[in-house]
């Protein structure tokens, strides 16, 4: 069971070697993971929309989509048909080329990052030796395309959404990138496979003091990076209509949606890989463990969406720059200390330093609540 997909892959390659000429067989062998990802990505996205709608409905005491197919399982297909048949509206004053290119380009990095995710033992498309860095770099380019979309729409609300998106993503990118550094320090490699193999059995990094802190920072920043509630200021419906995709309709809008949901999946998968041990775990096959961890994180994100109110812009910025950034810096040093010290002592030292840091940062970040005013003469009678 564990190597099921690997065996299928091998079987197809064997068949290709028997039937096709040599060089075509090599091309087929290269294309199998690409085709698998190109199918897996959009299908995941389609059913994530369904899961999200169902879950949000349950949180709000509704049923959610249940008309098309059993439990609404065909709803995504119906949505797809609707999106495809909708009229494609381009505003007259829009920058036509950029307006067309932005939704197409935004899907590319979202698909590319699938390549470095280890879905299970021996189940990775490309084991790049800079895997994590590649992921972070690719997800960083999303900002540019969101901004292009916002600018090309020639619409006030889009532009405001774009500006907010850039400010937010730039701010959260720094703790996002730096919170992985402790893991890289301990593992000594950028490769996602090496990171997973450094957490055998249940020795996941999240169970070490610096790993726990790193996991929380990384997950929060991941939620902010994919623009989801409570960090969804760029597309706040109640303030900005729909933010950067206000002027998009039909399939172009669907592409933005697709990029967003694929980013949700890949980012959760990266969090699971780096801190939750990826496909490591007892009993179950490796890819089941991986999907289990990833979907747990995705469901937590949806739970956030159902329960948290949106942050204010100043709270958003303050949280990134005044709290998360300092904590990540301390966390890197703590990880180095943990790595150098001997076993029981290192956990205690690391935990002590981190707890002190968090308390100090909380003290500095306290919102100033003005003293309760007593109106002496207000109720004079």
């Amino acid at each position: 069971m564990d190597q099921l997909f690997v065996h299928i892959d091998q079987a197809i390659i064997h068949w290709a070697q028997a039937v096709l000429p040599d060089w075509m067989a090599v091309i087929v062998a290269m294309k199998i993971p690409i085709v698998a990802i190109a199918i897996f990505g959009p299908v995941t996205m389609m059913y994530l929309t369904l899961i999200e709608r169902k879950l949000l409905a349950r949180i709000q005491n509704r049923f959610g989509p249940n008309r098309v197919g059993k439990f609404g399982l065909l709803q995504p297909l119906a949505d797809g048909v609707k999106m495809l048949t909708k009229e494609d509206i381009v505003p007259e004053k829009a920058d036509k080329i950029a307006h067309l290119l932005a939704p197409i380009l935004i899907v590319i990095p979202a698909l590319l990052v699938f390549a470095v995710l280890p879905f299970g033992r021996n189940m990775i498309a490309v084991d790049l030796n800079i895997g994590v860095l590649f992921f972070l770099a690719m997800s960083g380019t999303t900002t540019l395309f969101i901004f292009t979309a916002a600018w090309a729409s020639h619409n006030k609300f889009s532009l405001l959404g774009g500006m907010r998106s850039v400010a937010q993503m730039i701010s959260y990118e720094i703790p996002f990138v730096l919170s992985v550094v402790p893991v890289l320090v301990v593992v000594g490699s950028f490769s996602t496979v090496a990171i997973v193999e450094a957490q055998p059995g249940l020795h996941w990094f999240v169970f070490t003091p610096w790993g726990a802190v790193g996991f929380f920072i990384f997950f929060i920043c991941a939620v902010a990076e994919v623009n989801r509630t409570p960090f969804d200021l760029p597309e706040a419906e109640s303030e900005l209509v729909a933010g950067f995709h206000t002027e998009y309709s039909g399939m172009k809008f669907a592409l933005f949606y697709m990029a967003e949901f694929m980013n949700v999946f890949t980012v959760s998968a990266l969090v699971a890989t780096v801190f939750l041990g990826g496909w490591q775990g007892p009993i179950l096959p490796s890819w089941v463990w991986f999907l289990l961890k990833t979907y747990t994180l995705i469901l937590i994100m949806m739970w956030f969406r159902g329960t948290f109110p949106r942050l204010r812009a100043d709270q958003l910025m303050g949280f990134a720059w005044k709290f998360l950034l300092e904590l990540t810096f301390v966390n890197i040093i703590v990880a180095a200390i943990w790595y150098e010290m001997r076993s029981p002592l290192n956990h205690l030292t690391a935990a002590a330093i981190l707890i002190v840091t968090i308390i100090v940062l909380f003290q500095f970040n306290k919102t100033e609540i003005p003293k309760k005013r007593i109106y002496k003469y207000a109720y004079a009678d």
Binding site: D22, W23, D95, T141, T143, L144, L159, M163, V166
Partner: protein
């Protein structure tokens, strides 16, 4: 196998072509926003060249810093300064033609010098790993490394002071 080698070679030249096209668009397009987007194309092309030359770490850093950082800064500045859709103003100054001739002559000179120089090419092409770069940064190049840190702090302070609007005057 020859087919695959040929395909990969053609791929490299395609990357070169796209990058140069992006650069030409970046320096000639009228709409400065489109020029900035072409710059992004150029930068991604250069990152791809790095990947082809087996400098993966540099390629990733290039995308992370240039496309994720500098491009955003440039686009932000375009946004904050020009009126959107201002296309009537000429974008190049009167030196355009002399500069074009000068640049072409310089290119000619470069090409001749590259052709004439006897390069001492190694028998085995080098591959540099990220670990080697890191070790080199904190051993051989420790002084420039620290110096860069000082410069970055200075630039951080300088940028904040420059970009801050003056408190005394009315806010602009």
């Amino acid at each position: 196998m020859e087919v695959l080698t040929a395909i990969s070679k053609v791929g490299i030249y395609v990357i070169f072509g796209v990058t140069l096209l992006g650069a030409m668009m970046a320096v000639t397009l009228r709409n400065i926003f489109h020029a900035a987007l072409s710059l992004a194309l150029t930068l991604i092309g250069v990152a791809a060249v790095f990947f082809v030359l087996r400098a993966e770490f540099l390629g990733a850093v290039q995308i992370l810093l240039y496309v994720g950082g500098i491009m955003i800064l440039v686009i932000f500045t375009v946004m904050l300064t020009t009126r959107i859709g201002d296309r009537t103003i000429p974008t190049s100054n009167h030196q355009q033609w002399p500069v074009l001739i000068g640049a072409l002559l310089l290119l000619l000179y470069f090409v001749r010098m590259i052709g004439k120089t006897p390069w001492s090419i190694k028998s085995e092409l080098a591959v540099v790993s990220a670990v080697q770069i890191g070790k080199s940064l904190v051993s051989t190049f420790i002084f420039p490394f620290e110096l860069t840190a000082v410069i970055l702090v200075a630039i951080l302070i300088g940028t904040v002071i420059l970009a801050k609007s003056d408190e005394g005057e009315e806010k602009s």
